[in-house]
């Protein structure tokens, strides 16, 4: 049985910086999430995103459990998954800058 995460329909954000494979899990209502999206876009970073509050609640629940299972941490939004290896919860510009290698 495949993971629910792999079946989600993500929004693709084009960008010239494609050094990492980035996935953003967000809530459309959250101000820190909006700042995070703006930050990635302004830095011309390619990523994909999904607003979890806008999908089916059962699917959302499964996705949260999968994120928790994979990264051993509760998802606190926004969550940035880097190369499917690491997840950062919460948007702090300096931390994200460092994690994705932006100078």
């Amino acid at each position: 049985m495949g993971r629910m995460i792999d079946k989600l329909e993500f929004t693709q954000h084009e960008g010239s910086n494609q050094e990492h494979e980035l996935t953003l899990y967000a809530l459309s209502t959250c101000a820190f999430c909006k700042r995070a999206i703006k930050f990635l876009e302004e830095n011309d970073v390619a990523f994909r995103s999904i607003q979890l509050d806008q999908i089916n609640p059962m699917v959302k629940h499964t996705v949260k459990s999968e994120l928790k299972g994979q990264f051993q941490n509760l998802p606190v939004f926004p969550v940035l998954v880097i190369d499917n290896q690491e997840a950062i919860s919460g948007f702090t510009e300096e931390k994200w800058r460092e994690a994705i290698g932006l100078s």
Binding site: L27, S28, T29, C30, A31, F32, C33, K34, R35, L52, D53, P57, K60, H61, K64, S65, K68, L74, V76, F77, S89, G90, F91, T92
Partner: protein, 115 residues
């Protein structure tokens, strides 16, 4: 439009009233505040209550009761970090510093987050 529909101005009036009543301040950054008001409005019109815009709720008021704005974690978070989890409400002391709110640890118990 139903009578329970909330506008951006309704959300603004709600948070302003709460802040005045409690002696708290609202985040001074206008854009940040507008984003949160928009989120509160969306949540009210989606769920029927002002669910915290920065947290994932269930849509069941009883299960979400601790994270209906102003949430039960608001005061301990203001005391420890100067502002609530969302960065919407802050202590007057923090507001005077004119600093942007930063992400703070989630105080909500894990079992409630994973409902």
């Amino acid at each position: 439009m139903s009578s329970t529909h909330k506008t951006l101005e309704d959300a603004r009036e709600f948070v302003t009233r709460v802040a005045e009543h409690q002696g708290w301040a609202l985040v001074p950054d206008k854009d940040f505040l507008e984003d949160l008001l928009e989120g509160l409005k969306t949540n009210y019109n989606r769920y029927g209550y002002f669910l915290c815009p920065c947290r994932d709720g269930t849509g069941d008021r009883k299960k979400d009761e601790d994270i209906v704005c102003p949430c039960v974690y608001n005061l301990p978070d203001q005391n420890e970090y100067g502002h609530c989890f969302c960065g919407l409400f802050m202590s007057k002391e923090f507001a005077r510093k004119n600093k942007m709110p930063q992400p703070i640890p989630e105080r909500r118990p894990e079992e409630l987050q994973m409902q």
